[in-house]
């Protein structure tokens, strides 16, 4: 029984590293107000939210690090810092993207709530990336999910959007249901909801495997749904296709990031023993071969993503499957179950952020002009809009993972981690998959450059701002392909997940 005094004290010094979240909350409230006041001025909310994100970012840097708080149910460490930065970067790009998105900028649509929910979702993700208590994890995931349900269906007069949101909400509800059920079981087994306590309990006491396995797998189901890993990927293609492209991009990066953050933290804090002797090597508690299970999941995920992507003709859908595949690659890094893998996951996410958002932006810019997301209609793009086509193909090469692009570095470090852990077979599966992925990525390039050169459809105008954005993204993709030490070092520094003694 904690009595009230120290509770308050705890709360106070916890708030000292809860500032970014608070910033986001205030931004959110502010947005509601401004939305009520300036209905006419469309962009103001966008700029306010941008401001909020930037502010949150600044606060992230200045506030103290590596602390537990809120009765050890929340932590702020290098690990969550990395993910929060990624999430914020994604947000900024998404907001910029939203300014250009035709479907959002339609007449008479009020964008106030859009940004409000964006901020709300961000808040949820921040919590997710820091939560160390199963209940908090559950709440945080629900916070981001519920906002995302709404965002997915934000363009509500469009049928496919509303369909997407329905599917999303039902599937999400189910998997969160599974998750909470699993949590309840785990609570029953270990008598605690705090990851650290759970681990200690598992480390000391002997519990029979089956219920423990079932419960933890049910919890993993919740995460798997966030990172759209097999078999909880089914919602991904439909929702990605249906949702506004901005949101698709957002889901494909940010919420995946949050999902992986919590997954890793769960594994490290909840299921691996705290022995510092081994340093960055994890020793899992409970007699279950998590590494193998995760490797299987990774294999299934990337293979499925790739072989189904071969068949897609709708670019959004294709990218959806490709994002599933990438989740698979990242899972390889998780399956290694040591800081090495964690670091490789971080690296991957940073590179993935650049190339995937970039790809979505390219698709959006073109699709809005030609009113189609069909690959066929991208034929001859190389001549109608050389710049976009060039940038797009750079990003695609990065997604394939060919040097000298960021994508190669990302894959390189994942494979490095995997081989280091002697999971050679997994590495082989990985490279074979990246060969398969070549087919469909190249298919896009083929349509842009090799096909449809003859019929002259006239060029596609692209506004200056967009040109700058995509060029920057492409440039970064190349830059981090040839000079990547800073990213690696940063990931290395952020790789160790804070353990509470």
């Amino acid at each position: 029984m904690i009595e009230f005094g120290n509770l308050v004290a705890n709360l106070q010094n916890s708030l000292s590293f809860f500032l970014p979240e608070l910033v986001l909350v205030f931004t959110l409230l502010l947005l509601i107000v401004t939305d009520l006041i300036f209905r006419k001025i469309r962009f103001i909310n966008g700029y306010i939210s941008l401001l909020g994100f930037v502010l949150a970012g600044i606060v992230l840097f200045i506030q103290p690090k590596n602390l537990f708080g809120f009765l050890n149910s929340f932590v702020y460490d290098d690990f969550s810092f990395f993910f929060k930065i990624i999430i914020l970067l994604t947000n900024v790009l998404i907001v910029l993207m939203s300014f250009e998105s035709k479907e959002l900028m339609e007449k008479g649509r009020n964008l106030g709530e859009f940004y409000t929910f964006l901020v709300g979702m961000t808040f949820g993700m921040f919590l997710v990336s820091g939560a160390t208590n199963l209940i908090l994890i559950y709440l945080a995931i629900e916070t981001m999910s519920i906002s995302s349900y709404i965002l997915a269906g934000y363009t509500k007069e469009i049928r496919r959007a509303s369909e997407a949101s329905l599917k999303y909400v039902i599937f999400g509800a189910v998997s969160s249901g599974l998750m909470i059920y699993g949590i309840s079981l785990l609570y029953g087994l270990t008598g605690s909801l705090n990851l650290v306590e759970i681990r200690d309990f598992l480390a000391t006491n002997k519990i029979d495997t089956l219920p423990f396995f079932i419960s933890s797998l049910l919890i993993l189901a919740g995460f798997a749904y966030k990172i759209s890993a097999v078999p909880f990927h089914f919602w991904t293609p439909d929702v990605y296709e249906g949702a506004p492209i901005t949101i698709t991009a957002y889901l494909s990066v940010a919420s995946k990031a949050a999902g992986f953050a919590v997954l890793l933290r769960f594994l490290k804090l909840g299921l691996s023993s705290p022995t510092e002797a081994l340093g960055s090597l994890w020793t899992m508690v409970g007699n279950i071969d998590w590494s193998f299970i995760l490797a299987i999941l990774a294999t299934l995920t990337m293979t499925l993503g790739n072989i189904v992507a071969l068949w897609q003709n709708n670019l959004k859908r294709l990218l959806a499957y490709s994002s599933i595949a990438h989740a698979g690659y990242i899972l390889m890094g998780v399956a290694v179950l040591n800081d090495n893998g964690t670091a490789s996951v971080l690296v991957y996410f940073f590179m993935y952020l650049l190339m995937n958002i970039g790809a979505f932006i390219c698709v959006m810019l073109v699709a809005d002009k030609i009113n189609s997301e069909d690959i066929k209609d991208f034929e001859g793009l190389g001549y109608r809009s050389p710049l976009i086509a060039a940038v797009f193909s750079i990003l695609l090469f990065s997604l394939i993972g060919l040097p000298p692009t960021a994508g190669f570095i990302a894959k390189f470090y994942v494979f490095a981690a995997v081989i280091e852990a002697d999971l050679i077979w997994l590495a082989v599966v990985g490279v074979i998959n990246s060969v398969i992925s070549l087919y469909y990525y190249v298919k896009i390039m083929r349509n842009m450059f090799i096909r449809g050169l003859d019929e002259n459809k006239g060029s596609i105008p692209i506004s200056g701002l967009n040109q700058v954005i995509v060029i920057i993204l492409a440039f970064l993709t190349i830059l981090f392909g040839v000079y990547f030490s800073p990213i690696i070092n940063w990931a290395n520094a952020s790789a160790n997940i804070l353990i509470w003694k």
Binding site: N340, Y413, I450, F484, N489, A495
Partner: protein, 546 residues
């Protein structure tokens, strides 16, 4: 040892084309026909100038190269070395990952550098025929140039891999956009085959890094650098054999050796002439170069173990490639270019055979053959290109009697053809003879069998000669190629074709009569290489029970 010259010449020779690419991209495309034509001319000449400077640099390297230093696995005897830390990042567990920007050349790579410079220069002139998307074409062309040159000078495995993959993109587009009817198919096929080969190379590379703790190819060659109980530690372990095979197949796809060769005919048939020239002239060499630079010296034990297998691969490639070339007269589209493509398979087989011999003569011969095949096949493809540009067909059956219509052309062609069938006095003969002399020591029977390749080679070449150049000229070709006389002033060769073909012909004849300049380049390194390999190879042979 720092470059004996004042400036980092290798960096220049590698990245000069990138500068050229940027220049080409900066050239504004005019609105109307006239100004567009002008800008096209500018781009062409930018490329000519850039590749020419590159050629000059290559010659400078050749002149300043010290033939007495072996190189191979000894960094102190590499030349024009440039070595700076490129990436130096920490990573959990693994610790510091250090990647170097490490360039340098020795006797194994100098001929290739020369070859690349030469072929890239001459191949620009056939490119003048390109009318569509000129800017993109030359940009890609120069990017490709950088990639290839980089492969031949990189001594850091990571860097090597980056350059190796860097070529894929331009090559894909060059075949895919400017290619023939089935270009899509050919381009993707090339892409897939090469990628399949290289991804496994990636894994082996990572494994080697863990075992050695450095990406330097030279460090990987030294057994003492291998950490105990690391994955590739020790010698003659199964995992090392597997890794070697992964590398070997990766390179064999590029060579291409039977049975990994099927991408080649398609790629060649579809690619535009200059790209075929580069493909056959340089890209194929990267396969064999990779073997001798990476696969063999890093896994010498495995070489010993698989030596006879490699020799077999070479022999089969020789015979099979020649038979397929001969068969082009009978089946398929009877395509002139396809025939040459298969002849490449056959001729690269000699290289593999020579490498397998593990004898100084054989390996010198192999490298020399790489160079000669580079020049000879480049000529052959340009020769095909010449009639294709005029007649817009490559059917072997559709020609005849060209000797009367185009005597000079026929003369030059004969040099290339006779060089290709190994006529003494032309460079092809010496390299093939050396390969045979070397291989005969190790594999007498395989070598004698490969000898059939000589006869078959003569057969399909003479057959082609007869079909295309002798006999009666079909009536459809009786009128001049280009009645307007604008594109082809004369029925025979035109200026830029002379510029492309004559230098190669001279090189072929010169090296045929006096090969020492080229041989002495590689001589020291080759002997050193063989000596270095010998002990491991012997044990390997013993283990494989041959």
């Amino acid at each position: 040892m720092q470059s004996s010259l004042g400036f980092p010449i290798l960096t220049w020779i590698v990245f000069l084309p990138i500068i050229g690419m940027l220049l080409v991209l900066l050239v504004p495309l005019g609105k109307d026909e006239r100004s567009r034509e002008v800008s096209h001319i500018i781009m062409r000449w930018i490329t000519v100038v850039i590749t020419f400077i590159q050629l000059v640099l290559a010659v400078v390297i050749y002149l300043n190269y010290n033939k007495s230093l072996p190189g191979v696995n000894d960094v102190s005897t590499f030349q024009f070395v440039e070595r700076v830390t490129w990436i130096n990042a920490n990573f959990p567990i693994i610790g510091q990952i250090k990647i170097e920007y490490f360039l340098g050349i020795d006797g194994l790579s100098v001929p290739m550098v020369l070859l690349t410079a030469i072929v890239c220069f001459v191949a620009v002139f056939p490119s003048f025929i390109i009318e569509k998307g000129v800017k993109g074409y030359f940009a890609m062309y120069l990017l490709l140039d950088t990639g290839m040159m980089g492969v031949f000078v990189a001594l850091d495995f990571f860097l090597f891999y980056v350059f190796w993959e860097l070529m894929l993109l331009p090559m894909y587009f060059l075949i895919g956009i400017w290619g023939g009817p089935r270009k899509e198919y050919a381009a993707i096929k090339f892409f897939i085959y090469t990628l399949v080969g290289s991804v496994f190379m990636l894994l082996v590379m990572i494994g080697l890094y863990y075992s050695v703790g450095s990406f330097s190819i030279l460090d990987m060659m030294n057994p003492n650098n291998y950490k105990p109980d690391s994955i590739f530690a020790g010698m003659h372990t199964t995992i090392r054999y597997i890794a070697f095979m992964a590398l070997f197949i990766g390179f064999a796809i590029k060579v291409p050796s039977v049975p990994f060769h099927t991408w080649l005919p398609d790629a060649h048939v579809e690619a535009p002439t200059p790209i075929s020239v580069i493909l056959a002239g340089i890209l194929l060499k990267m396969g064999t170069y990779g073997m001798i630079r990476i696969a063999f010296p890093i896994f010498p034990d495995a070489v010993g173990y698989f030596q006879s297998l490699i020799a077999w691969v070479g022999m089969i490639s020789i015979i099979y490639g020649a038979l397929c070339a001969l068969g082009q007269h009978k089946v398929g589209q009877r395509d002139f270019k396809k025939l040459i493509a298969y002849s490449s398979v056959s001729h690269m087989g000699y290289v593999v055979l020579g490498l397998a011999s593990m004898r100084p003569e054989g390996i010198s011969g192999a490298i020399f053959q790489m160079f000669n095949h580079g020049t000879i096949t480049s000529m052959l493809f340009m020769i095909v290109g010449v009639i294709y540009d005029r007649a817009h067909t490559r059917g072997l059956d559709e020609f005849g009697g060209l000797a009367n219509k185009m005597p000079v052309y026929t003369g030059i062609m004969m040099v290339a053809f006779f060089a290709a069938i190994g006529l003494p006095g032309l460079s092809g003969f010496i390299s093939e003879a050396m390969v045979f002399l070397g291989a005969f020591n190790t594999y007498p029977y395989l070598t004698i069998a490969s000898g059939l390749g000589i006869i078959l080679g003569a057969a399909y070449m003479l057959w082609t000669l007869q079909k295309v150049f002798f006999g009666k000229l079909p009536d459809r070709w009786n009128k001049p190629w280009d009645p307007t006389g604008k594109k082809f002033p004369s029925d025979d060769l035109i200026a830029r074709e002379y510029v492309a073909l004559v230098p190669l012909a001279l090189i072929i004849i010169y090296l045929g009569i006096y090969p020492n300049p080229m041989l002495s380049l590689m001589n020291t390194s080759v002997n050193y290489f063989v000596e270095f390999m010998k002990p491991f190879v012997l044990i390997g042979n013993f283990l494989s029970g041959m």
